[in-house]
Symmetry: C2
Subunit: 227 residues, 2 copies
């Protein structure tokens, strides 16, 4: 197992989670001349994989695009957004609909190996997850849930290591799938550009807790106040 | 604006993002006798709202269930899972399908007020977001994406402040909606129990980067290695 990083690449301390969450902006302009070191990219992706998922099936797949030619190809599938050309790395974040058909066995075996569960519990888990997954009402929604947990984890991890990000939902799904060979049982959940911001940005604001929280029942006003 | 917290409720330092991401477990058993202070709950929810979202429309809604009677009611909608009865707080995480119809104006106005955008850009943004949102192929998928970004942010924020969490997808959607008055244009994305773990848990493991990452094209092996 890796040790948890305590320093950013420039030597400054890794940010606390609240700092990383607060400082993160959807970056508009990346510095095209500042590459993302391999080691930092690996750390960010590894931390993203620590997100929770339904039955620990980890349906996220990260298609990492780094060459200028492929970023240009991706940009053509995403309404020509300049940041895809600028950022040194763009991750096509995919949600795999059927991990229980291919990855349930290895996942359970790993849990048994770690003494996280007994082989008996593993058998029960396999039967339950198989039944549940074959009856999921909407596999795309199911895969999207856990995959977006990993996407948020990726962006918070990046920010804490001094790396800026930009999540994008402006792309043509079928074009992306065709250009990068993504099969039908994978959804394109979002794109995430990673790199270093070329300019700072103003916080666009958020609704207060009384706008987005309810107490005990839908529509019942939030009375606990904001921070 | 709130200042970013630097201390947990017990006085220990807030965790770094990588620590919070690494330490978080899907908690199985909560201590029913340890309440979650209001102030901590507010901080966690506030940090969750700092997640990014499509057009900054913030489709997440947090239905916060705290009374024992309502947690019992929720437990009955979620296959009787004991942790819903044990945890002092359970959040029903909802994804709102149509925030552009009710919240686009106030969101743009807030950006203008903060000088994040000009009124002219605000007008263009309003037109573009309205058109795009009315043509979203699957509103549930759209709302689920951003809402799960907020859900992950919530759990990482909680962990960094010393609060354990458990995301749950085992519930009967229609029962939850009926019991808590959730309208049809909101999806129940997940439940998240919050509180203090009653026992420690073994890490169940994750697939390595070579299992979940591709380079440049779907299926092309990852050669950059793990951390």
């Amino acid at each position: 197992m890796s040790t948890t990083p305590t320093r950013q690449t420039d030597g400054s301390p890794v940010l606390s989670a609240p700092e990383a969450i607060t400082n993160r902006r959807a970056t508009r302009h990346f510095d095209p001349d500042q590459p993302l070191p391999d080691d930092t990219l690996r750390r960010i992706l590894h931390l993203a994989t620590l997100a929770p998922s339904g039955y620990n099936l980890q349906p996220w797949r990260f298609l990492v695009v780094r060459t200028a030619a492929n970023r240009e190809k991706l940009r053509q599938c995403a309404y020509g957004q300049p940041k895809i050309g600028q950022a040194p790395v763009v991750v096509i974040v995919l949600g795999y609909h059927n991990p229980h058909r291919t990855h349930l066995g290895p996942m359970v075996a790993e849990q048994v190996r770690r003494d996280a569960i007994t082989p008996e519990i593993g058998k029960g888990m396999t039967a339950m997850a198989t039944r549940a997954m074959e009856n999921v009402p909407d596999p795309q929604v199911w895969a999207t849930r856990s995959t977006m947990l990993a996407a948020a984890t990726l962006m918070i991890a990046a920010e804490s290591l001094g790396v800026s990000s930009a999540p994008m939902e402006g792309f043509e799904t079928e074009k992306v799938k065709q250009a990068f060979g993504v099969p039908d049982d994978h959804s394109v959940c979002c794109l995430i550009a990673l790199g270093f911001a070329a300019s700072s940005q103003t916080f666009p604001g958020r609704f207060g807790l009384d706008d987005v929280c309810y107490q005990e029942h839908f529509g019942q006003p939030w009375t606990l106040g904001d921070v």
